[in-house]
Symmetry: none
Subunit: 230 residues, 4 copies
Amino acid sequence: MLPTDLPALSAHEPVNLQIYRALRQCIVNCTLLPGEAISDKEISEQFGVSRQPVRDAFIKLVGAGLIQVLPQRGTFVMKISPKRVLNGRFIREAVEVAVARNAADKISDEQLLALAANIEQQKLAAARNDTARFLALDEEFHTTLSRSIDCIEAWELIEDIKAHMDRVRYLSLGEITSLQMLIAQHAAIVHALRSRDPAMAEEAMRSHLREINLSFGPIRERNPDWFEAE
Amino acid sequence: MLPTDLPALSAHEPVNLQIYRALRQCIVNCTLLPGEAISDKEISEQFGVSRQPVRDAFIKLVGAGLIQVLPQRGTFVMKISPKRVLNGRFIREAVEVAVARNAADKISDEQLLALAANIEQQKLAAARNDTARFLALDEEFHTTLSRSIDCIEAWELIEDIKAHMDRVRYLSLGEITSLQMLIAQHAAIVHALRSRDPAMAEEAMRSHLREINLSFGPIRERNPDWFEAE
Amino acid sequence: MLPTDLPALSAHEPVNLQIYRALRQCIVNCTLLPGEAISDKEISEQFGVSRQPVRDAFIKLVGAGLIQVLPQRGTFVMKISPKRVLNGRFIREAVEVAVARNAADKISDEQLLALAANIEQQKLAAARNDTARFLALDEEFHTTLSRSIDCIEAWELIEDIKAHMDRVRYLSLGEITSLQMLIAQHAAIVHALRSRDPAMAEEAMRSHLREINLSFGPIRERNPDWFEAE
Amino acid sequence: MLPTDLPALSAHEPVNLQIYRALRQCIVNCTLLPGEAISDKEISEQFGVSRQPVRDAFIKLVGAGLIQVLPQRGTFVMKISPKRVLNGRFIREAVEVAVARNAADKISDEQLLALAANIEQQKLAAARNDTARFLALDEEFHTTLSRSIDCIEAWELIEDIKAHMDRVRYLSLGEITSLQMLIAQHAAIVHALRSRDPAMAEEAMRSHLREINLSFGPIRERNPDWFEAE
DNA sequence: GTGGTCTAGACCACC
DNA sequence: GTGGTCTAGACCACA
């Protein structure tokens, strides 16, 4: 079920894009649960638009692997596929490790400062237990790395992978790996970059991405129907 | 301009998907040239369908970065962005090197045989100078590697990156790195996998992907309007 | 367009079967023209039933190759495919020649008498120029042959083939090969059977089936859109 | 009883068609035994769909003579009718002999090569005792012949006939005419075609089809309830 | 109750 | 808004 307090549609941005982002947001933070049925007609009425922009948004969501359209059956939020998440993590590690290695050479001093500032804010968010804010900062942290080697494409790619990983995170809020540990890992990465040491940067990034909480176990046992059959 | 001998639309598959594949094919092999204008209306008439499925296909092509929709201006085949291609190659290397490393442990004997058979066919294609066939075999070769570590997600990702790299390849047909060399590199990868040596597999894959001909130089000078301004 | 004077639906026979026969009849005698669009909804309203039994009838008509269902496009009366008709004639010749050959041995005297009587009635129908009646008798003639060798399956097979041949016949009513000639050929077949001469029976049947008017020429020129593109 | 490991339903193909094929397969290879009762409700539950697409599949199966619907009694897998199988063989002989005769003139050199390659694979399958693979190759062999005279209609017809013959074959696996002999007969057909000798091709095909093992004897004695009462 | 048949309504994709 | 497909539910006949 969609939240009743939908974001108002802004004027001069394509409607389909706004709907895409809204739906994506709802799916990633599990406001729309895995396996739940959604209907273009219903959504179009809730937003007060025609079905067309909703259809367009659906196509993009299919492209991101977040929904599944079964012709003549219905449209459903993709269930969480453990294999897909694990494979996603594998790919993400491959890419971000290479990014970190390169960044050790190329990152500018300004960007290093920005990363340090970001970490300070992470600490604040952690202190207030503001997980949403923390995740946003985390995202910005990694984006900055990709930007530092002038390879924004890397982040675009990872964004789709991350969406699937984040669904698990949101479901396991509270059981999540301690924010303190994540912050320490981020700091280690920045330290390696500041030392201009590619090998250390690679290693820091690798252990960071390996640490990410992927213990589906407890969540899956409580809600097996949110996960895809093997 | 679309080829006049369009593939007939099959009955039991969504029309939008069929059109997506047809257009993608035309863009990748440069039947539709970079920067060329395309129109949903015109295409819908050529296929004998309504504009809707063509619009759907356009959305997916935008997602793959192959076309660009300028509101109130028109729709255009993306010009080749050297930076995008180079960054794509960087990402691809990161992922496929990790794939190769893992495959050294996990690949089955059957799959090793399939790779060997594939290389034999590559030699045949090279002997007949059948470049299209060679590229298809190359694609199958790399797909098999991803499948061998049970991570088709890796290949799905690379497919979109590869589309941009392949446009350059098609334009530089003839100037392409000698097929013999590519075949030798493929053989080296298989050799490393058969030896179950991750480091060797990584190195073989890395040098293979670095070797790939991406010298825009001559093509770009002859046809500067196929490339994006920096 | 369906005829307005639809046959009333009888009480205790499945509705879908009655509709199947009605539609088949309309298609074979070209009341429903080749290529014409038909809709389950419209037909269901004309018969005063729901869409379901019409759908059931459609499935059977697809099985007989008389209509074509294009998902998400519509349902259409199959255009006449010259190749299909010709190939059908080829198959029919193969089967019925074998039937005739066998019948020379196995046919009973009673059945021979029935055939002779049938031919007499054909003469009457021809004299009154009652083509519909003639075609019904022709059908009975051939059915009797299949029954004579206890192989009703042969006729069931030919029935579907014949439906396509008959569409051409109905369109070329008047230009049809003279009924007299057909009657003479039937008589020749009976003569051969009565003589218990397999070779003669085979030859009589073969020349009969070769004689069948299949000159699409004039009809096709007048109505090219009733015929499938090659 | 249906196998428990049903094929997953694919997204972009009508459900009824997928179910039709699955059931047909089960009937032909006698996973569903002759005379066994099947129920649309039960099947719909096993596939996780409603009864409607199963009903659609049933209609097609009735058209192919593979199941029997007794109103108010139930739906049953057709028992094997010896007469039907024998008459089917008779019709198949008539058609395929004519096909072979024509193919001697019309078959292309490529198709002759394909047939030769097919026979080689038959030998491999026979060596591994892989009967299922052999039957698939056999099917492809005969299909190629029909295609060679541009008459796939012939094969479509035979396919339904063959389904009934194959049920007997599957039941008599092991007692089947030696694969070696069948391969030799296939080779003889190819030889005749390569010699462009219609009479020889006809004779080779005729003796091939006469040789096919259709001895109900032992099977019928052991399982009389799989066969129709005369 | 079971099984065959029919009705009404919903949804996706295309016009 | 339409057409093709699927779902859910009702009815009737037979056991």
